[in-house]
């Protein structure tokens, strides 16, 4: 199987950074690219939602929420008992892995498009849904249900995180405007999707490589966890996808959502809610190990697993 060009951009960024070439996208451009990805993904899902009864999806949204609670609960004992991490660090890493990465999801979408595999287009709704529960589970794992937790501030940081709001804006506008959006916004949002993703991944490669140095500091267990846990979580995702009766493409995307770890919304929320947790640990794992693993190896691997499981 040949690599998708967008993935090659990621690898290029990674190598450039390891060669110590002084390259980094201006942060405003990086932010612009992520805004484009979030809104485009949101719009795609919203247009699809406009074609169906949103009420029919409530059951599935519930199942996806359950998955979002289950994955951090699965990660925590592995980190705490096997990895010997401090309770708060184990909980923080578990929260990162329970949540999702939009970048990885976008790579999955690009993968399906190049393989001409269709998928349930309301998947972005689950992307929004999965951002939240893991953060709450992580905080409860670290502190119990404690009065110290400032839930209002936590909610502000997580529910109103920029990434969630932008996805939601896309979903809502897509849903309200429906198919006719294609007429007016196609050229700006949908046509350049892969180009935007390619540039985004180039920068992510640079950022991921800058985390590599920290690996030595945090040890082999974290490296192993960052690679093995996503594969386990993807299988959990597959079981949930089966439960919901998703197609092959939809199953792959749910597996990717299960396998990916957050590196934007959760780090910010956890830094506020669990200041004692070491932010370097979870960011190195999610950004330095799991993100590259998922982008390069994980996505095609999960596709193979899904194909075998669903017998397609």
């Amino acid at each position: 199987m040949t690599l998708d060009p967008v993935v090659m951009f990621f690898i290029a960024g990674f190598i450039i950074s390891l060669m110590r070439v002084d390259f980094k996208l201006p942060s405003a451009i990086y932010e612009f690219l992520s805004i484009m990805l979030l809104i485009t993904i949101g719009l795609k899902g919203g247009i699809e939602l406009s074609k169906q009864h949103v009420g029919d999806l409530i059951g599935d949204v519930g199942i996806v929420l359950l998955m979002g609670v289950f994955i951090p609960l699965l990660a925590y004992p592995i980190l705490y008992l096997l990895g010997q991490f401090k309770r708060v660090d184990a909980a923080s890493i578990a929260a990162h892995y329970g949540s999702v990465s939009v970048g990885t999801y976008a790579v999955g979408v690009a993968f399906l498009e190049s393989h001409h595999v269709s998928y349930e287009s309301h998947m972005p709704l689950y992307l929004v849904v999965l951002e939240i529960p893991a953060i709450v589970v992580g905080i409860v794992l670290a502190k119990g249900i404690s009065k110290e937790t400032n839930w209002a501030e936590m909610a502000q940081e997580s529910f109103l995180a920029k990434s969630i709001v932008l996805l939601f804006v896309g979903l809502f506008i897509g849903w309200a405007a429906g198919e006719k959006i294609h007429l007016s916004l196609d050229a700006f949002f949908f046509a350049p999707f892969k180009g935007i993703l390619a540039l985004f991944l180039l920068e992510m490669g640079v950022v991921a490589a800058s985390q590599v140095g920290l690996l030595k500091k945090y040890g082999l267990f974290l490296l192993g966890f960052g690679i093995v846990f996503p594969v386990i979580a993807s299988c959990v995702g597959l079981v949930f996808a089966d439960l919901m009766g998703l197609s092959l493409g939809g199953s792959l995307l749910l597996m990717i959502l299960a396998a990916s770890a957050s590196y934007i919304a959760v780090p910010a929320a956890v830094r506020i809610a669990l200041p004692e947790a070491n932010p370097g640990l979870s960011l190195t794992a999610s950004l330095g190990i799991t993100f590259p693993f998922n982008v390069i190896v994980g996505v095609p691997l999960y596709y193979k697993i899904a194909e075998m499981y669903l017998g397609a």
């Binding site: 800058s210 934007i264 830094r271």
Partner: protein, 99 residues
């Protein structure tokens, strides 16, 4: 040239804290400040600003002695910021009077 002597308080800390620290400062009576995004290296590691969560901010306030001690006392008493990197320093500045 007419000047007034004031205290410039500089707080370098994590960007994540911006909302909460500004809220605290305003409660203490600060009515103006400047925030600059910053990068650098210190006890808590390199803040390269290559990543959104990896940025520092530098908050500058021009205040009088009384308010400066009030802020200083608050920051030393509260346990809120114990686990964050934070550096606070003061300098005397001469502020130009505008006519």
């Amino acid at each position: 040239m007419e000047t007034i002597t004031k205290i410039m308080m500089t707080i370098i800390t994590e960007q994540n804290l911006e909302r909460s620290i500004i809220h605290d400062l305003e409660d203490l009576g600060v009515d103006g400040y400047t925030i600059i995004e910053a990068r650098g290296k210190g006890d808590s590691g390199i803040k390269s600003a290559t990543w959104m969560n990896d940025t520092n901010i530098q908050i500058e306030l021009i205040v009088d002695d009384a308010l400066a001690s009030k802020i200083y006392n608050y920051i030393s008493d509260t346990k809120k910021y114990d686990n964050y990197s934070m550096m606070v320093y003061l300098s005397e500045v001469k502020v130009l009077k505008r006519h």
